[in-house]
Amino acid sequence: MTEFLFTVASVSTPLVYAALGGMLSERAGVVNIALEGLMLAGAFTAATVAWATKDPWLAFVAGVLASSVFGALHALLTITFRAHAIISGLAVNAVVAGLTPVLCKTLFDSSTSSPMLENAQRITALGGRVSPLVICAPIVALLLYVMHRWSRFGQYIRFAGEVPDALDAQGISSQKVRWLAVCLSGALCGVAGAYLSIDHGAGFTRNMTAGRGYVALAAVIVGRWTPQGALAGALIFGSIEACQILFQDIPLWGDRTLPVQWMQSLPFIATLLVLAVVNRRAAKSPGGLFVPKALSS
C-alpha cells in the first residue's frame, strides 16, 4: 500500500503542476493546449543545464524559465495578436516537439536522448525517498486555492476570463492579467517538465512528456477549472497511471497478463471515461456547472 501511495504521488506530481498551470490560463480566458509542449521545453532545458552545470537547482530554474518563455510565446500569439488559441497551442507544441530532437542532436550527438544524469546532477530526494517537488505540489495547489479564492489577483484572473471589459473599466488591463496568467501557466509546466527530466527521471528523452500535458488538461476539465479540482483530477489520473505501472505484470487468467500496450493506453481510455461521466453529470446539474467563457462555444 505504501508502495502504491509513493507511486501515485510521484506520477501525479507532473500532472498536478501542469493541471494547475492549465487551470490558471483557462480561467484567465486563454485556452491552453500547449501544456504538453511547455512541459517538454522545461524538461529539455532542465536536463541540458543539469548536464552542463551539474547544478540541479540552477537547472530547475532554467527549465521553469524556458517553459515561461514558451508560455509567453503562446500569450503573445493569443492575447497580443489575437490568434486562435487552439492553433497557437498546436504551433507551440509542434515547435517544441520539433526543436528538442534537433537541439539534442546538436548538443549530445543523439537525436533521441540526452546523456544519463548522475545522481549529483538531479534533485535529491528528501530522506532518500520523497522529492521536494512532490511535497511542494499540494502546497502550490493550496497557495493557488487561497489566491484564487481570496486574493485580488485571483479575482482579476476570474474577471479577465469572464468579463474582461469590467476589468478594463476598472483601469486594470485584462490583457496584462492574461499575459501574467499564461506565463505563470508556463512556469508551472516548467516545474512539471523539470520534475520529469532531473528528478523523477535522469535525463531527457524524446517526447518524454508522452501525452501528460493532454491528460493534465483533462484533469482541469474534470476539476471544473478550480485549483482543488485540478489537484483532485491530477490525482485521479495519477492513480490510474500508478495502477498501470504497478499491476503491469500481475497474471489475470492462468499465467497470462494484460498486454503492455493495453495497460499503456489505459490512462488515456480512463481519462476519456472520467471526462464523459463528469461532463454528463455537469450537464444534468441544475443550471449546469461552470465552464469558462473562453471554452463555451
Binding site: A91, G98, K105, T106, Q264, K293
Partner: protein, 338 residues
C-alpha cells in the same frame, strides 16, 4: 484589410519565417543555403526525387482533406493521425484475413470500405463524446490518437506479426492485392487524393449539404434556428472526415508497404492538420501547401547524409515555424480566444 496590405503582410511574414529558420540552422552550426539546396534537390532534383515527394504528399493531402471537412463544420479533427492508423490496421487485417480466400476484385473494394468504416468509427467515438457528453473534440481526438497508436503496436506485435522478421511489422499481404506504384514511387492514391480534394471542396462550396456544414461551422446556434440539425451535421462531417483519413492508411498498406509497419507515419495527421489550417478553405492553397510539406518531408531525408549536423528532424521544425507564423494570421475580432 485591403488586398495590398494583405500581400504586404504575407510578404513580411514569409521573410520573417525564412529569417527565423536561417537563424535556427545557423545556431545548429550549418549553412542555411546548403540546407536549402539539399532540401530542394532532394525534393525536386530529379523525376525520381519528385515522385518521392508525391509519395509523401499523398497521405498529407488525404489527412488535410479530412481536417478541412471537419473544420468547415467547426470541429478540430486533431485525430486524423489516429484515424489513419486505424484505417491502416483495418486494411491489413482485412487483407490478411480474407486475401487468401476471396477473389481479388471482392477483397480490394471491401477492404477499402472496411478501412474507411473503421476509421469513421474511430472518429465517431470523438463525435459521440462531443455530442452526448460535451467533451471537446480537441482533447478526445488527441487522447484517441494515443490509444490508436497502442492498438496498432499491439496488433502488429501480437496478432499479425511477421514470423520471418524481427522488426515491428505484419506479414505481407497477398501479391494480387498490391497496388503497384503508379509512377516511380508515387502510388495510385496520388491522383485519387487530388480528386478527393476537389470533390470535398466542390461538395462544401456547391451543395446543400456543404452549405449546411459551413453554416454549422460558422454559427451552430443560428443554424439550429434556421432548421439545420447542427449536431447531426457535425457528427456526419466528423464521420466522413474519419473515413477520408482512413484512406491514408489504405494508401500505406495497399499502395506502398504491402504490410503494416509500426511507426510508419512521421505524423501525417498532424502535417495534414497544418496544411488544412494554412489553406483556410482554398483548394489551390491546399494543394500547394501539401506539396510544400510533402517536399519538406522528402527533402529532409537527405539532410542526415548531406549536411554536417542538421538531421531530418529539421523538417518538423520548419513545419512548426510555418504553423506558428500562420497562427498569427488567424486573428479574430472581439474575444481573445476560443
Amino acid at each position: 484589410m485591403t488586398s495590398v496590405k494583405k500581400y504586404q503582410e504575407s510578404f513580411f511574414l514569409t521573410i520573417g519565417t525564412l529569417a527565423v529558420l536561417s537563424a535556427i540552422v545557423l545556431g545548429i552550426g550549418d549553412s542555411p543555403i546548403s540546407v536549402a539546396s539539399v532540401l530542394l534537390n532532394s525534393a525536386f532534383g530529379s523525376l525520381e526525387n519528385f515522385s518521392y515527394t508525391l509519395f509523401y504528399s499523398t497521405p498529407i493531402l488525404l489527412t488535410a482533406c479530412s481536417v478541412r471537412l471537419a473544420l468547415a463544420a467547426g470541429l478540430f479533427n486533431i485525430g486524423a493521425e489516429g484515424q489513419m492508423l486505424i484505417g491502416a490496421l483495418a486494411s491489413v487485417a482485412f487483407g490478411l484475413w480474407f486475401g487468401p480466400t476471396l477473389p481479388v476484385f471482392v477483397v480490394i473494394p471491401s477492404a477499402i470500405v472496411f478501412a474507411m468504416a473503421a476509421a469513421a468509427f474511430w472518429a465517431g467515438i470523438a463525435g459521440w463524446l462531443r455530442v452526448r457528453h460535451g467533451i471537446h473534440e480537441v482533447i478526445s481526438t488527441i487522447l484517441l490518437n494515443f490509444v490508436a497508436l497502442a492498438l496498432v503496436n499491439w496488433s502488429v506485435l501480437e496478432i499479425f506479426k511477421n514470423p520471418e522478421n524481427q522488426s515491428l511489422e505484419t506479414t505481407w499481404i497477398a501479391e494480387g492485392l498490391r497496388f503497384g506504384p503508379l509512377w516511380k514511387h508515387a502510388t495510385v492514391f496520388a491522383p485519387l487524393a487530388i480528386g478527393l480534394a476537389v470533390l470535398v471542396h466542390a461538395v462544401l462550396t456547391t451543395t446543400w449539404f456543404g452549405l449546411r456544414v459551413r453554416s454549422t461551422g460558422h454559427n451552430p446556434r443560428a443554424s439550429e434556428l434556421a432548421g439545420i440539425a447542427a449536431t447531426k451535421i457535425r457528427l456526419k462531417s466528423l464521420l466522413i472526415a474519419g473515413a477520408i483519413a482512413g484512406l491514408a492508411g489504405v494508401n500505406e498498406v495497399f499502395g506502398h508497404a504491402y504490410r503494416l509497419i509500426d511507426g510508419f507515419s512521421p505524423g501525417y495527421g498532424f502535417i495534414g492538420l497544418s496544411v488544412a489550417l494554412i489553406a483556410r478553405g482554398s483548394l489551390p492553397m491546399l494543394i500547394a501547401a501539401t506539396l510544400l510539406f510533402g517536399a519538406l518531408q522528402k527533402g529532409a531525408l537527405d539532410l542526415d547524409l548531406e549536411t554536417e549536423r542538421v538531421t531530418r528532424d529539421l523538417a518538423a521544425v520548419i513545419q512548426a515555424v510555418i504553423l506558428l507564423v500562420l497562427a498569427l494570421q488567424t486573428r479574430k475580432k472581439g474575444g481573445a480566444s476560443s
